[in-house]
Symmetry: C2
Subunit: 152 residues, 2 copies
Amino acid sequence: MVEHYTKSLPYELELTSRVVHEASTSLFKQKNFPITHDEFVILDCLSIYPDIIQIELAKMILKGRAHTGRFLMALEEKGFIKRTPAKHGTKLIMKLSITPEGLNVYKKVSKEIDRHIDALHERLNMDKIRILIDMLHDIRKDAYENFDIDFK
Amino acid sequence: MVEHYTKSLPYELELTSRVVHEASTSLFKQKNFPITHDEFVILDCLSIYPDIIQIELAKMILKGRAHTGRFLMALEEKGFIKRTPAKHGTKLIMKLSITPEGLNVYKKVSKEIDRHIDALHERLNMDKIRILIDMLHDIRKDAYENFDIDFK
DNA sequence: TATTTATTGTAGAAAAATCTACATGATACA
DNA sequence: TGTATCATGTAGATTTTTCTACAATAAATA
């Protein structure tokens, strides 16, 4: 039994996430990347799922639909993605695609971030990381089952 | 090596933390607790470290000093804590103490939260949790060593 | 054909989180 | 004694995040 909330796993997660977020922000600022951390996440998603639709993207990054739209707007204004009408099965959707400039930026930022993640992996041992990530999935599953969570 | 940032441990942490945060918010709302999640965290810290000073508290919860002051203001307005001048070694500081009403609320909320944390523990196995928490500490340590992080 | 549903764009407002700045009182120290 | 430092209180502004709302378009369906 854990005595205090601030020593519990959920709170430790919160703290760690905040620190990691701060580290990220600091890196993006220091390196003067032309995108934000959130925008990078979107580029990463698009590079994995080239055919993802906006609603799915929103679910994936756990942001609201409108909010996600804003990120996309910003990315498009910067010329890093394009939104073009396309067929998705029978439905018409806006296909999100990374532009060549977007891909450049994405690769540049990725490279930098990979360096840090690799360093982390060297410290932490890959098997444990695998276990950890599985646990994180469990925790999320648990939360979704027991609480009313939606991210609209 | 992890191929994509959104599959990496740092990002998984971020996602999980967001979900947990949402779950928390949902619980506090549903149960109509008279404090917010952040305020609960502060009560928890105070119950562990009754002699903590504001600056240390701020560091502990990873918020800025002024921001922390605001939380304390709110808690004091609600009558859940008191701030009284006191000696801290040779220095004069404001001693933060939980009022009886504050303690009641803290206990009530704790009890509810413990139920959920216990449930999580049943699913996750205590040894693994220990390992996980240690890893989280490592990750934070890593971040502090490699980035310029301060939370002012 | 008329209505409903799905996907998206985008503005505006609101809420939450954070930062900057200044002030106070007291001790430390040069 | 004068200056620096520490811990604090608190206002105001800014930034970030999120939500609400409305509009448009096209496909599904009744």
